[in-house]
């Protein structure tokens, strides 16, 4: 059940860093030859381009690897992944509900790139990391998925047990002037 009191281990927001509310999440894996079939069944076109995302009516599909995508559903429901599973019946793919494995933070505002740069070696400039780009990467010693949802908006997914660690480092970076 999505009980908002236990959904996030994160603290309340600060100006540039706010927890993202409950999200349903699934990992889909399939071969390149099955991408079209799987996309049709789940009603969102899985991106083939590396490190790119697609958004379609509340669903987001983030490329994590050539055969792996993270699907986010902004309208969380415990039944969603089992519904996807039923629709994928017969398709050769793997579907795993990871809704509660990870939590999300929003890093936003004019200093978002600088805050992220304190723990992640990627070039976060808009030219190198455009809106819609997503990737699994590292923030300090924790694995994260970083997704740019706007010019000054990043969505950061982190495994639940690493969330407070990443959050604390981000807040420390935010506090520095």
């Amino acid at each position: 059940m999505f009980d908002p009191d236990v959904t996030s281990p994160l603290d309340d927001g600060s100006p540039a860093i706010t927890p993202v509310g409950p999200v349903s999440r699934a990992i889909i894996r399939c071969r390149a030859s099955d991408i079209d079939l799987v996309s049709n069944r789940i009603d969102i076109a899985l991106p083939r381009a590396a490190c790119r995302s697609v958004q379609d009516s509340g669903l987001s599909a983030l490329w994590l690897g050539p055969d792996e995508w993270l699907i986010l559903n902004a309208t969380p429901a415990d039944s969603w992944v089992s519904e996807l599973s039923a629709r994928l019946d017969g398709a050769l793919c793997s579907l795993v509900d990871v809704s509660h494995r990870q939590v999300a933070l929003s890093v936003h505002g004019p200093r978002a790139e600088d805050i992220l740069a304190t723990g992640c070696a990627l070039d976060h400039s808009i030219a190198a990391f455009p809106v819609g780009m997503c990737t699994r990467t590292m923030f300090a010693k924790a694995e994260i998925v970083l997704w740019r949802t706007g010019a000054a908006n990043f969505h950061l997914e982190v495994w639940r047990s690493f969330a407070r660690y990443v959050e604390a480092l981000l807040r420390e970076a935010e506090s520095e002037r």
Binding site: A50, C51, L64, G65, P66, E68, A121, L122, T135, R136, T137, M138, E143
Partner: protein, 113 residues
């Protein structure tokens, strides 16, 4: 720190990768015809080159693909990066492609680079 260019994701910091040891090592077979010496050679013996090396890397904190890197172990210069199914693009290279990437290990082997 190395900056490695993943064939799928582009240049990334070394912290995102795991080293997988020497590349282009074929499993001998069929198994019943493999001598103990051949098997031991396959399991344990590596060139441990000082110079131009062909090695496997896993983009563990990225796309989770294995790929090959041709790297000079003295200078750390990366000479080429190529997919598991591709031969080394360097001229005069004799290493054969490893083959089906699904047959490569799912976990990193060996120690640090």
């Amino acid at each position: 720190m190395l900056l490695l260019e993943c064939p799928y994701c582009g240049p990334r910091a070394e912290i995102e990768f795991r080293y997988g040891g020497e590349s282009h090592i074929r499993r001998p077979g069929p198994h019943a015809e493999v001598s103990d010496a051949q098997w031991a050679d396959y399991l344990y013996n590596r060139k441990n080159l000082k110079g131009e090396h062909r090695e496997r890397w896993l983009h563990a904190a990225g796309c989770r693909r294995w790929f090959n890197v041709a790297r000079n172990t003295v200078t750390h210069q990366v000479l080429a990066v190529y997919k598991m199914t591709e031969p080394c693009p360097l001229p005069d290279d004799t290493g054969a492609p490893v083959g089906d990437p699904s047959m490569t290990p799912g976990t990193a082997m060996g120690g640090a680079a």
